[in-house]
Symmetry: C2
Subunit: 307 residues, 2 copies
């Protein structure tokens, strides 16, 4: 099977690596408008070759769109207009409503599968790509009923090959929930970075006094603006609601501290401590995805080549 990956960053590059290593793809073709990324992806062995978009589409059995989500919404009509009825197209963006809406306008909607593998780091570009990024994590598939069953099954197998667990959700629910458990974390971290940089003009002090707690909460502030600005843009409505709630909670916490109500502060933190249970739940979920789940599946993948 020939897989064409559009966008050779952390996600596109890491998927390419896994598909080659697991023989899911006979060949991975890269499409990227950044010449440096093209060269890096070739040099790092993420892809077997680089082609322009149209050529990449014409030979692909499976097309993976792994670009920033504004590029995805822009390219999607063109991609769906340039494939035949045997090609499967998959996107891996962090927003799903706008992308699904655009896909819905195409006569070949059923060749498209909307996915969001929940994985990533604060690093970007082909050099950030690595194996194991997706292992034991969750992939969300939206509007599965609108995808052709064979196309859907191929995509499900792809994520199983990445050792991910597929779950299903409608696009609106995805965007609402992800606003809280991913997008809000990023804004909280970006803003913490901005606040500290703004006030601590004397950086020497930050270097000396910042501990591992600061590093952990501010880690996501290193994330790519090119990737995140379009996500925040497309999920604007849900994110504003989440931010309103977060700001409201911060103001309440501030009041408690300002009035030195130590017991109330304790109560709030005890409530927040409940996140231990949630994080333990995430850990437990990870354990449930056995690392060997996909071995049998891989051998059942038909190595078909379209052309």
């Amino acid at each position: 099977m020939i897989v064409t990956t559009i966008g050779l960053g952390l996600i596109g590059g890491s998927i390419a690596l896994e598909l080659k290593a697991n023989n899911f793809a006979d060949q991975v073709i890269g499409v990227d408008n950044n010449p440096t990324h093209q060269q890096q992806a070739l040099a790092l062995g993420l892809v077997d070759g680089i082609l322009p978009l149209e050529a990449g589409l014409s030979i692909a059995d499976l097309v993976i769109i792994a670009t920033p989500v504004d590029v995805t919404t822009q390219l999607l009509p063109q991609i769906l207009a340039n494939i035949d009825g045997f090609t499967t197209v998959l996107d891996v963006g962090s927003t799903k409503s706008e992308i699904c809406k655009i896909a819905g306008a195409s006569p070949l909607r059923d060749r498209f599968v909307a996915a969001h593998p929940i994985a990533g780091t604060e690093n970007t570009g082909p050099t950030a790509a690595h194996r194991g990024l997706f292992s034991n994590k969750t992939n969300i598939i939206c509007e599965r009923e609108k995808s052709n069953p064979q196309a859907l099954r191929l995509v499900e197998k792809l994520f199983e090959c990445l050792r991910m667990k597929n779950i299903y959700m409608d696009a609106a629910a995805h965007d609402k929930h992800i606003a809280y458990v991913s997008h809000l974390s990023h804004i909280s971290s970006f803003t913490l970075g901005l606040t500290v940089l703004e006030i601590e003009k004397n950086e020497k002090t930050i270097f000396d006094m910042a501990g591992s707690g600061f590093e952990s909460t501010v880690r996501l502030a290193k994330s790519s603006p090119e990737m995140w600005a379009p996500i925040f843009d497309q999920n604007s409505e849900n994110l504003v609601v989440a931010l309103d709630e977060y700001i409201h909670q911060l103001q309440q916490f501030k009041q408690v501290i300002q009035h030195r109500e130590k017991q109330q502060a304790k109560n709030k933190m005890k409530k927040a401590n409940d996140i231990r249970r949630v994080l333990a739940g995430i850990e437990a979920k990870k354990q449930q995805i056995s690392p060997n789940t996909t071995n049998k599946l891989q051998s059942s993948i038909a190595h078909t080549s379209k052309k």
Copy 2:
């Protein structure tokens, strides 16, 4: 030298472990009003014995106060009233102004050294104590001019023995700066936990959709309310200023997202990305503290026993 450690949690317990392992202390005596912590500390070998406060003070060459900071301000007058002019008293709390003020009222102020080793995890209690917690990190000493030079030197050696770098600061500056690079991170994380727990009543969704970014930003929400409520209380004034700035920045970010000003969002994030340089600076600082710095110092520590 006999060291008495008051408070056998993560910090007190971990210091005790290091001082025993490095032969800085001939004997470490633990004081803790929690019987479970007493038993755990003995069973885990953090301390050689448990004594009540007064007995622990009477035999100590060095007293380390590693309690929540409200307990520290409460105990400090009593401790300084019950030592002789040869005993050194050290506190390791995350706030310094209120503690230094209380110490300043004692005729034995010069036997006291105010310190803040910047180290910790989100875990608490004797079972969380471990070796290596302090390695290559920074210890802040406040008001060093008010401490007797021998007492100061002993405390400096103690932190060098923990492989820490000592830096010096006045108490007000410490409390102001630490509000931004530590206390604010904790509030941001506690509040993120509260917000997500509040809205996502369906926890199943959190388990499935939360990724490593969420885990990283929310990690500190697991921290101990008993430890942090008194810190926020004592540093209330600085923290309110820091929170006001953080909330202001969040509101600005929200506006940008609400009005879908993608370029402005990008600009903000690019600015926040500058935190990479700060975090790299923290890493570089760590490298500068050679792991063998303290070997020579240790052999020069006089193994004196007072009684």
